[in-house]
Amino acid sequence: MNIVFLILVHWLIVLTLAPLFTGVITKVKAFFAGKKGPSVFQAYFDLQKLFQKSSVYSSTTTWIFRAAPIVNLAAVLVLSLLVPVGVLKAPVQFAGDIFLAAYILGLARFFMIAAGLDTGSSFEGMGASREAFFSCLTELALFMNFITLSLVARSISLSTMIGADFPLSWKLMGPILLLVAASFFIVILAENARIPVDDPDTHLELTMIHEVMILDHSGVDLAYMFYAAIIKLFVFAGILVPIIFPIQTGNITVDMLVFLGAMLVVSIMIGVVESVMARLRLNRVQNLLLIAFALAFFGFVVKMWKG
């Protein structure tokens, strides 16, 4: 099949399914709070509303501020091409694409931080500084996970590593995968500004990280940022799902249903964690990220021990 066609189908699926994933998390949180909560399709309505509005720019901002949302969305879309979605194999895969994935994330983050600083607001500078510090530690855990997984799968291609082509066996590698899955779950929460690290709902000035950096964006720009964050969460969950549920029956319909069910389980897990945990104090966040690193490192040690 034509590669362009494959890429377009991949994007179509990611773009349509990703807002639903966030909607489920919101619904789970509302259920725990004893509320009815917004519909699971709320993210689509929000995006539609934001795309109809025009942007307002502060006179202190430069082209960096305008470029950041575009770079962010583009980077995340490229990242989504490296990750398989259910039965759809990743359209782009080559040896070493894990580095591309990590640095694409770095590029998106760099522009986000630069745009935050570009507004000249001390408030956004603070968020940018926090983001830079925490993402340093998250990247450490992310790379340690990638190293362990690549040793398990004997490949440095992301889609081979997470078992899109051959399911990783929990029977043989159970303990290692347990550690990697736990560590990667913390990485998901930290990378996507979820609760123990950052709260996606509040606008309290003392605690925000992600929200504070996109505070000056409005209209279509905000929609881009919002969409990028949603897709990023979806893509990260898409990396975790094949690690936790390496089930492949060969039947396309069954496999797709298993994948969607697994995504539902992951979104419920994130929702439950967000509901039962409080946000960590800012100076305790690095301990959580270091634990994620220690878990991944422990997995690496066990892998070396098992040979």
Binding site: K171, G174, P175, L178, A294, F297, V301, V302, M304
Partner: protein, 216 residues
């Protein structure tokens, strides 16, 4: 059942790491109880094919003593004491975690040259028990509160228990029971001592403050 034993070993070391990085004493005691629960279920995983009365006995004693009795004594000990948080560890929490990770790697490296008599059910038991002992030791020496030091001691004992479980078939139960009794007595004495220290200090604080007032 090897995969279950493997997973239990990993979880035990993971929980030690969590205790190492935690600063709230109440949470630490809870995590310790969970760790002991996993440890108490381990004999069933190891001899899943033929569970003997010995397995049930060991498991029951561990569950009663370490999951119920010791945590409740510790909770009782800290109830009247303002020892809710480990405030100033000798090594900070962030560096503790990194050192903890290195300790685990070291334990695995040492285990390479250790040979056990008999064939263990899982090859992860030895390195994991060594890691748990070392992590418990680290908690004991780097924390400054009496309760957290005792918790480090208890985690060390959990590591020794894990090691003893792997030698289950060649080692008499009596030794393990003796260790458990020692631990229980030690925790009991600690609880009494902590309470007495607290009472003494409260008294002395009350008697000191008026004197300071007089000197000014």
């Amino acid at each position: 059942m090897t995969s279950w034993v493997d997973a239990s070993c990993i979880i035990i070391v993971f929980l030690s790491l969590i205790i190492l990085s935690n600063y709230r004493v109440v949470a630490m005691i809870r995590v310790f109880a969970i760790q002991s629960l996993v440890l108490g279920l381990l004999p069933f995983f190891m001899h899943a094919s033929c569970i003997s009365s010995r397995d049930v006995l060991i498991s029951l004693i561990t569950l009663i003593l370490k999951v119920a009795l010791v945590p409740s004594i510790l909770f009782w000990a800290i109830r009247h004491v303002s020892m809710r948080a480990e405030i100033k560890p000798i090594i900070g929490f962030g560096s503790s975690i990194v050192f903890g990770a290195l300790i685990i790697a070291g334990a695995f490296w040492i285990s390479l040259s250790l040979k056990l008599p008999g064939k263990p059910v899982s090859d992860l038991i030895l390195p994991c028990s060594l890691s748990t002992v070392l992590l418990g030791f680290m908690i004991m020496v780097t924390r400054t509160r009496a309760v957290t030091q005792v918790l480090g001691y208890l985690i060390m004992e959990n590591g020794i228990f894990l090691f003893a479980v792997s030698l289950f078939d060649v080692m008499p139960v009596l030794i393990e029971m003796g260790i458990l009794l020692d631990i229980f007595v030690a925790v009991f004495i600690m609880a009494i001592v902590v309470n007495h220290i607290n009472e003494e200090f409260e008294k002395s604080a009350e008697s000191i403050i008026p004197k300071i007032g007089e000197t000014f």
